[in-house]
């Protein structure tokens, strides 16, 4: 693990609450970890578990799913479906050896910029402490047989 490892976290933010919370955090000039890279979805209910797996596979050190608080979903209950999938996904990811801190579901309403910022900071610190995931190299690389040579990895920020 490099000394100055900065995790990359993919964030799936729902259009109505958490994305707006992130907008608000910015507008309020809250300073928080720039490690979370947001992807906008209409609802946390749109987050297909495949998205999470894809992000982990493609090099993310963590994935954050953020939605409206239960009962406040713009689409009534999409976030509850997200939660149901998340609970099962979490159980499966445990079997796949992915540490719990790497995939998190958080709630942040449109007015909770500060909460979203805090959760990003907290998750960033937790994933930073775990170290890089680097699925392709660490988990899939070195199979006891030669791997196709990797292209040079871009410098870490």
């Amino acid at each position: 693990m490099s000394e100055n490892f900065e995790p990359v976290i993919v964030g799936f933010l729902c259009n109505w609450c958490s994305y707006r919370a992130a907008d608000l955090a910015g507008t309020a000039r809250l300073k928080y970890a720039p490690n979370m890279r947001p992807i906008r979805v209409m609802c946390s209910g749109r987050v297909d578990p495949q998205f999470v797996l894809k992000a982990l596979r493609n090099g993310a050190d963590g994935v954050m799913i953020a939605g409206c608080h239960p009962g406040e979903c713009h689409y009534v209950s999409g976030n509850i479906k997200a939660l149901r999938r998340f609970v099962l996904l979490k159980k499966m990811l445990r079997q796949l050896g992915v540490e719990e801190e790497r995939v998190q579901l958080v709630w942040a309403s449109a007015s909770e910029g500060i909460i979203l910022a805090e959760k990003v900071d907290k998750m960033t610190a937790e994933v930073r402490a775990l170290g890089p995931l680097n699925w392709n190299k660490t988990v899939l690389g070195g199979n006891g047989h030669p791997v196709v040579k990797a292209e040079p990895v871009a410098e870490e920020v």
């Binding site: 994305y19 910015g26 999409g78 190299k137 920020v157």
Partner: protein, 667 residues
């Protein structure tokens, strides 16, 4: 797919982005990415010159996709889609990267911010090449409007719309419209008689040709979407035939049964079992309180029927609840508020100490048509108090109950002090407040008037109200224990009467109501507006608006403003006749659907139907709101969520992680 020509525009936003993100580096780097035809940076992309840059490149360089890396799409997505459209490019072939709110504004780390800007821009580029041209979906607006709640906000909205020539269904749970305002005596700070200014409006509603008034009614179900809602309304049985009743009131007079009026008179007075909540009630028809009616309880009486002078008789004991289906285009919710239950603060003694009153009880007491004919008296009904303490912030600005400021309590507490001075000139009046909050036209002046009238102001939160005396002067009195923070001393103020000023709070069923109408409410139960500043009467659900205290504590003028504003929003839609909706919709590939029915109960809008004959499910486009929950659920991956397809999101993930996983594994 690989033949798309993408134009990338990186905005400086003055220095908002450029002072943290190296925009030149981002643009140069973007220019080297696959599919990118041109990449530029510019001071203000949203300016007309910035937009022209895009338009020009679309025309001259034949761009087929556009990416703007600037602010939040909630800010300028519309702007740039417009630019694309003007240049002949389908507006959905555009994507925005938010490098301001999500990047330059949240960090001072220039290197990290620039890297993140590249990631977000790259994600947009990777995504946009998978975009499909989409066409907005036209929706016709049914010109009828449903307004729920007949308080001042709902009344205002109904009259505004009806006066403009639109039909309104006004549904009210209680037997009469009027809401809380009808219970009040005077309104601050002008001290107008509340009933005098409200009653004419209620009468207007009752008589308006464009308003169908449904009191003693509740909305039970809601289907549909903007422009085409179907509301199921239960019109509870009144046991009075509205067609023939003249509202003469003889039945009320003759009814032998009296009960405590817990609603309008807040337990301060009684009413008959066949009753109108108050004399000016609209509509004028009474209602029989079935639970307490002697006939319904014991099978005989029928005094009302006996004395009813109309032909045919207006009393109808066989009346049943009616279920009405209303077709409306828009809905305004103006369901009002409740007062905080002061019994939750036992140290204030309400219910235990008989001369502790709530604000609403006092309102009824000072009302000339109220239970004491306007006399301020103790619970014994005759003794006027020689001293009165008014306690502000009961349940509000309190970590244990509601954190929020209930906004109107300072003003009505001042009004109470004034009314006491007016009715009992010798009485000592104490207002115990945390902070005096009187912003509003004429409000601060009203406070100064009270200062001059000799009210004693004690700045401090009341700790306790007790009837246990410590000194002879406290014998037989209520003692208000309060820290006077201005002099830094604990005080014990003996008084005859205490009035508690409880917080306004959301209706206890506001969560269920918000779910019924498929919109959100906050933790306190107040309905959530689309934008706290710029869109205060719209909700997240298209076609559903909110007005008045159901959105948060507010006074009469503010409720009126919101009622009118919501009406204006609805009128605008009615005028347009047809609106264009975002084509972000789900679609099930009918050839590939296996009919597994996993998706069937995913949709909160019941937009998914299962065809028993063909064994496939289908999305009704007009009902779909585009959340994508069914798309994620579909195990066959054959539900497409337009503009958020799996391809698009997968590409975005790949793009956003460009710097951490370039290698592919193939042994």
């Amino acid at each position: 797919m690989n033949e798309e020509k993408v134009g990338v525009y990186v905005c400086h936003c003055g220095t908002n982005i450029a002072k943290v993100v190296d925009v030149v580096d981002v643009a140069t780097w973007a220019g080297e990415q696959p599919n990118v035809e041109v990449a530029r940076e510019y001071k203000f992309m949203c300016s007309s010159l910035g937009q022209e840059l895009i338009e020009q490149d679309i025309k001259e360089k034949g761009l087929t996709r556009v990416v703007v890396a600037s602010c939040s799409p909630h800010m300028h997505e519309k702007t740039f889609r417009g630019a694309c459209e003007r240049a002949g490019l389908n507006p959905f072939l555009f994507e925005m990267a938010n490098i301001r709110e999500h990047d330059s504004w949240i960090t001072d780390d220039k290197v990290a911010a620039t890297q993140k800007a590249k990631s977000l821009t790259n994600a947009a580029i990777a995504r946009v090449v998978h975009h499909q041209p989409l066409e907005p979906i036209p929706v016709e607006i049914n010109p009828n409007t449903l307004i729920v709640g007949g308080g001042i906000a709902g009344i205002t909205a109904a009259l505004e719309l009806a006066d403009a020539g639109n039909h309104v269904y006004l549904v009210e749970r209680e037997p009469s419209i009027g809401g809380h305002m009808a219970q009040l005596d005077k309104t601050f700070p002008t001290l107008d008689c509340s009933a005098c200014i409200l009653t004419p409006k209620m009468v207007d509603v009752g008589q308006h040709a464009n308003i169908t008034l449904l009191t003693w009614s509740e909305v039970e179900e809601l289907d549909g979407y903007l422009g085409n809602f179907t509301a199921t309304v239960r019109k509870k049985a009144r046991y009075v035939n509205e067609e023939v009743c003249t509202g003469c009131g003889i039945c009320i007079e003759k009814c032998p049964a009296k009960v405590l009026d817990e609603v309008f008179e807040v337990g301060m007075g009684t009413r008959k079992v066949i009753y109108r909540p108050f004399p000016q009630a609209v509509p004028k028809y009474p209602v029989i309180d079935k639970e307490n009616c002697i006939y319904f309880l014991r099978g005989k009486c029928k005094a009302c029927e006996l004395f009813c002078p109309t032909e045919p008789n207006s009393i109808d004991f066989t009346q049943k609840d009616e279920i009405l289906k209303l077709q409306v285009g828009n809905i305004i919710l103006a369901t009002g508020y409740d007062l905080f239950d002061v019994k939750r603060i036992p140290q204030y003694g309400y219910g235990r100490l008989k001369n502790v009153f709530t604000s609403l009880e006092f309102e009824r007491m000072v009302n000339a048509s109220g239970p004491t004919d306007g006399k301020i008296v103790l619970r014994d009904g005759k003794t006027p108090p020689a001293s009165v303490a008014i306690v502000h912030c009961v349940g509000s600005r309190d970590e244990n109950y509601h954190k929020y400021c209930s906004k109107i309590c300072c003003m009505y507490s001042l009004k109470f002090a004034h009314l006491v001075h007016e009715r009992i000139p010798d009485a000592e009046v104490y207002n115990c407040y945390i902070d005096m909050r009187t912003p509003g036209k004429g409000y601060e002046e009203f406070y100064h008037r009270l200062l001059e009238e000799g009210t004693n102001f004690i700045r401090g939160k009341v700790a306790e109200i007790t009837d246990a005396p410590r000194i002879p002067a406290e014998e037989g009195k209520l003692v208000v224990q309060v820290e006077d923070t201005l002099i830094g001393r604990q005080r014990r103020v003996p008084v005859d009467m205490v009035i508690l000023s409880p917080a306004m709070e959301a209706k206890p069923d506001s969560k269920e109501v918000s779910q019924l109408f498929k919109m959100g409410c906050d933790f306190d139960g107040f309905f959530t507006e689309r934008h706290p500043k710029l869109d205060p009467v719209a909700t997240m659900t298209e076609g559903i608006y909110i007005a008045g205290a159901c959105q948060g504590p507010k006074d009469v003028p503010e409720s009126v403003v919101q009622g009118a504003a919501a009406a204006a929003r609805v009128a605008g839609l009615i005028n347009r006749g047809t609106v264009m909706m975002e084509p972000v919709r789900a679609n099930i590939d009918q050839d590939k659907c296996s009919g597994c029915r996993i998706c069937n109960n995913m949709c909160p809008y019941n937009a998914i139907v299962f065809h028993e004959d063909r064994h496939v499910s289908e999305v009704i486009t007009a009902l779909c709101q585009g959340c994508g929950t069914c798309v994620a659920a579909c195990p066959s991956g054959i539900i497409t969520g337009a503009h958020f397809t799996n391809d698009q999101v997968f590409s975005e993930i790949e793009g956003i992680l460009w710097d951490v996983r370039p290698e592919k594994v193939l042994a």
